[in-house]
Symmetry: C2
Subunit: 371 residues, 2 copies
């Protein structure tokens, strides 16, 4: 399974795997794909620096990338303290009441309270870029569309291509005009930030709209070789997968341990493809999340409207921390796509990759038999 | 392009084309697919009898099918007069006010007022089955899931296979248990009645769930050979296309004429993939429609909640008639899928079919080059 894009990156398979876990990202790169490390959780550039140094050592010399979260328009800046003052009391009261109703305990008095994910801020995302460009990264992807022109130039000066997510043709055209090298066509079924056009329609639409001016990766709903074949049928040069790695053995975030999967993983393993919602409650922009008692609470009539980015994430960041600590699979706050219905066992990354490649091959053989 | 399903039906290509137009249905069958005539618009069985007699004569001996609308659960029965009394005055007032605000004139005093589409009623759908089974039909499809067991038996006694739409795995399992032969996996992106799971996820999920007990057609988002290849990659044995035929030259419903496309077609030609909404306002169940000033009005805060099936369709049937007569592309009431973004010119059915077949072939050649 190879395309011009996998050749360009010098990787075995055109499988781009986004994950917040460096262990998963490194395993994806070692397995022949391109592991792309999500940086948004690193409030402190030094933390990212240490993790990327680890990536350099643990990817067998294979390429890897980073994913930043940089809105095209610069949002309200400031320290978390400044921003906190913009959050209405009604919203705070709703969060407190909901957590209490859901039986989510407060943090231990000793625990460090979350300051919110500052990675949503422009200045922090820029620090991620600065840090990453000092490592041997092969890609910078931006989860919120084109980064600013000077960030693209900065990456290009170091010979690093830039990818950007697009949920509609007009996003893709804008990215190309801004100098983006790879457009990630993110379908409605995808986890995290997503638009309303499903992959079946969106991918060929974006491929046709941008022609040869950039490569297209298909994102959303991919977790098997058949789905990779479908994505490449639609004109993509590769796939971008995020959700599917959350149930790999290497994923240890959310307190997965040797004793077994974490609460989040147990929730994901039990979910069907119908158990997601697309909502603004995670970040302020529409994102697909696992449907749980937490997302249900926000869709009740008494719930306030979510705040704009980055305020909503600041509002719920301590809640996310409390929810994570409570380790209750019924109350989880987690972006995931409709492919969660196929995430039914914990497997090593290499085994997932092997199935993608073999499944792709069988799917193409089957198609050949139809000619 | 052939699969075991196209062989079973004795058709050249596994392309099942649903359409309310007998001219389009016949053209699809003549072009090597299987034209499936939507029956819901025939309130009078004799009208359907005449149209199927025409189909028998105009399909060059090729097979064709019919599509009925028969809810699994028997809804409120009665004449339209009985049912009309169940519609709240508030809803009628909203419809009248909205049409007036949108500048949709009343019907000419001479015009026959619509009695609602009685095809939504169980008894009328049964009459469609009775009429159709006296013609050389090759398929009965039900747009609302499994028809009752005795209807399936009635079809099977005449050697006619039964297909049913499914928007989720549990629907598909139920259909198979009821004796349905073909499951149509209808993704979120599809026009008309549709669920929330996109084709990329839904199709392989249904294929895996039902195994060899029934064939699977992929529906939703298909209008090019690349999309056919994607659907077959996902494990389907063929495709079910509805929206795409609305902009064929043979489609004359909605007053298309020799002078040019109808108001509905002009609206479709101008729409992008983002110009649809999934709403209960057409039939009472969630259906994807072209986004127009009419659908916008129903999503405003002052709009009442849509009524259950079949009341909602009775409520809006005269409105649909008035809207059609007004021939204003901005105020159209029309089910269509996200593929509308690719429906940009009026073309003959045979040309569409040719592109599907050639496009499939190129897509598979491209996939082969990736191995």
């Amino acid at each position: 399974m190879h395309t011009s894009l996998s050749e360009k990156f010098g990787i075995e398979y055109p499988v781009f795997g986004f994950t917040p876990s460096e262990h998963v990202a490194a395993a994806i790169s070692r397995a022949g794909g391109l592991g792309v490390l999500g940086c948004v959780r690193f409030n402190d550039p030094e933390e990212l620096e240490a993790v990327l140094a680890w990536m350099d050592e643990n990817t067998d010399g294979n390429p890897y990338g980073v994913d930043i979260v940089m809105p095209a328009k610069v949002p309200t800046e400031g320290t978390s303290v400044d921003l906190e003052s913009l959050i209405p009391a009604e919203h705070r009261a709703f969060v407190d009441r909901t957590l209490s109703e859901l039986g989510v305990p407060p943090l231990d008095s000793g625990a460090e309270h979350a300051t919110g994910v500052l990675g949503w801020l422009h200045s922090v995302a820029r620090s991620h870029v600065d840090v990453a460009l000092n490592h041997r990264i092969a890609l910078i992807a931006n989860a919120l569309g084109s980064p600013p022109k000077d960030v693209i130039d900065q990456a290009h000066e170091k010979g690093v291509p830039v990818a950007a997510l697009a949920g509609a043709v007009e996003h893709a055209r804008r990215h190309v005009a801004n100098g983006v090298d790879i457009v990630i066509a993110q379908g409605y079924e995808a986890g995290g930030h997503t638009g309303e056009i499903a992959s079946m329609v969106l991918v060929p639409e974006i491929v046709d709209a941008i022609g040869d001016s950039a490569a297209v990766l298909a994102a959303g709903g991919i977790g098997s070789g058949r789905q990779v074949a479908a994505a490449l049928s639609l004109g993509a040069e590769g796939v971008w997968m995020g959700s599917y790695w959350l149930t790999t053995s290497e994923y240890k975030l959310g307190s997965a341990s040797a004793e077994g999967p974490s609460a989040i993983q147990r929730a994901l393993l039990g979910a069907t493809s119908a158990d997601t919602v697309r909502s603004r409650i995670y970040s302020g922009k529409p994102a697909r999340l696992l449907k749980t008692k937490w997302t249900d609470a926000w869709s009740k009539p008494d719930a306030p409207a979510p705040l704009p980015m980055p305020l909503q994430n600041l509002l719920v960041s301590e809640a996310h921390q409390r929810i994570a600590a409570s380790e209750n699979p019924d109350v989880v706050a987690m972006p995931v796509g409709q492919i969660v219905g196929r995430m039914n066992e914990i497997r090593p990354v290499a085994e997932v990759m092997d199935e993608l490649v073999k499944g792709f091959d069988s799917a193409v053989s089957r198609l050949d038999s139809f000619r």
